[in-house]
């Protein structure tokens, strides 16, 4: 049996659902592949929806969010299971 490859993602948490969905809209409009996911406990205090982005796109994602004045409250590197 081949061990399943663990993919790495960067996950962003937000203070409010509104901010999380602002982020989703901005990232999609900016061409970033973003997936809304249940906020992992590793993010600590954040709203229940987090945004998952591939490591290759984090620089673009963070630039877009900063320019769009949407602050992320937390950030964590996670591995898919």
């Amino acid at each position: 049996m081949t061990p399943r490859e663990l993919r790495e993602f960067v996950v962003y948490g937000f203070e409010t659902t509104h901010a999380a969905l602002d982020a989703e809209d901005l990232l999609k409009a900016g061409g970033v592949s973003v997936v809304p996911i249940p906020a992992p406990r590793a993010l600590g205090v954040s709203c229940g929806i987090a945004m998952r982005v591939s490591p290759e796109e984090t620089a673009a994602a963070e630039r877009i969010l900063t320019e769009g004045r949407v602050d992320w409250a937390s950030r964590a590197v996670m591995h898919d299971v």
Binding site: E15, T16, A19, L43, C47
Partner: protein, 393 residues
């Protein structure tokens, strides 16, 4: 369809609805559809899960917030919280900003949604200073300024438009007065939103409270609390706000969650969003029609013997609310006759605004109020004039 629904449908079909100051009816079809779809399909609890159904519902509310904010000139949609109504928004503003020892200047035309919370605060040691409007219901910014300058003042409170006379208050000037003394400007926009073009930021309001179900044409149960960046009322209700913030022992301070404890009213908010989109598209034409209809009603009533109209003369600026008094026939009798003989819905009494009626000298008699809005026509107005003539004849 139930028997009760058949009955109310028949009643609705024969009603000439002229009580938009109380609540708007009928609702535009996009509003009805949005509410129905929210109940039928948007089943998830917004912000309480990241599965597709909950995400879709969260996005529905997110979009509604943006649409409402754009309509009202709220630059950052997160500064707009969905609450149960303008009454709750005003309670949050007044009780969340004022504390014993503070001083607040308020206007004599206010609705009970302002008067009663202020009376509670007065009993707790807030100094409430009332400034009288003139005999037409209009506030004088100079008189408010004089009251504000007499002592350090935390806030000025005024309606944007009167629910009795339709008077449009100079809230932009009052905001300048308030800010010049370091006070907040709190505006009750219940009768203005949807009937006037509103830019909350340009007005300088620190709090602007909106009713979702009046001129905005949404369903009952939703109000909008719009806050400036500088203004941070305490939250009056604490509870769940969803997700990972659960571990915070106290209410989060981030907007809009701070003021939205508990499961949101998804169908109501969906309706408010659809209503705001409808008003954004059709509002300008509707405002012109409303001005014309209220002037037609005003002139028609003044031509009848024994009637007078509260507030300013015809064709001066007002939201489409018109209150009339007859020298001999009581307002409640007129309302009853209009309903039973003509199917006209209009409201007699004090309109939850005894302070305004005291100012206008009609506390003892009350008045019969007509509220014009979406769906009304010249025929409705002409029928009301004819009905008044016959009822008082």
């Amino acid at each position: 369809m139930t028997e009760a629904a058949r009955d109310i449908r028949a009643t609705a079909a024969r009603t000439v609805y002229l009580d938009h100051g109380a609540t708007s009816w009928p609702k535009p079809q996009p509003v009805v559809q949005a509410v129905r779809e929210a109940v039928e399909f948007y089943g998830g609890n917004p912000g309480r899960g990241a599965y597709e159904l909950a995400l879709a519902t969260a996005r529905l509310i997110h979009d509604a917030r943006r649409t409402c904010a754009a309509l009202l000139g709220v630059r950052d949609p997160s500064d707009l919280a969905f609450v149960s109504g303008a009454t709750e928004a005003l309670n949050i503003a007044l009780k969340g900003l004022l504390a014993p020892g503070d001083r607040v200047v308020a206007c004599s035309m206010e609705h009970n949604a302002v008067v009663r919370p202020l009376n509670v605060l007065a009993a707790q040691g807030v100094d409430v200073v009332w400034v009288d409007a003139d005999s037409t219901g209009l506030m004088d910014a100079d008189e408010v300024e004089a009251a504000v300058r007499r002592a350090p003042t935390r806030a000025v409170v005024c309606q944007h438009a009167s629910n009795v006379t339709g008077t449009i208050q100079p809230v932009g000037d009052l905001a300048d007065v308030a800010h010049a003394s370091g006070a907040w400007m709190i505006v009750d926009g219940a009768q203005a939103a949807g009937h006037l073009d509103i830019d909350v930021a340009a007005l300088g309001a620190d709090v602007y409270a909106v009713s979702g179900h009046k001129g905005l044409l949404g369903p009952q149960g939703v109000g909008l609390l719009c806050l400036s960046e500088a203004c941070e009322p305490r939250d009056l209700v604490q509870g769940g706000t969803g997700g990972g913030a659960s571990e915070l022992p106290t209410q989060p301070t981030a907007r809009p969650d701070r003021y939205e404890a508990g499961t949101p009213n998804t169908p109501g908010i969906a309706g408010a969003g659809a209503a705001a989109a409808f008003v954004a598209e059709h509002g300008h034409a509707q405002h012109g029609l409303e001005r014309e209809l209220v002037a037609r009603l005003h002139e028609g009533v003044l031509a009848l013997p024994g009637f007078r109209v509260l507030g300013s003369p015809p064709r001066e600026p007002r939201v489409p609310v018109l209150s009339v008094v007859h020298e001999r026939v009581d307002a409640d009798q007129l309302a009853f006759l209009l309903d039973k003989r003509y199917g006209i819905a209009a409201r007699a009494g004090l309109h939850c605004a005894p302070a305004a009626h005291r100012t206008l000298g009609t506390l003892a008699t009350g008045a019969l109020r007509f509220g014009i809005g979406w769906g009304n026509t010249a025929e409705h107005v002409d029928l009301a004039v004819q009905a008044l003539a016959e009822a008082a004849g």
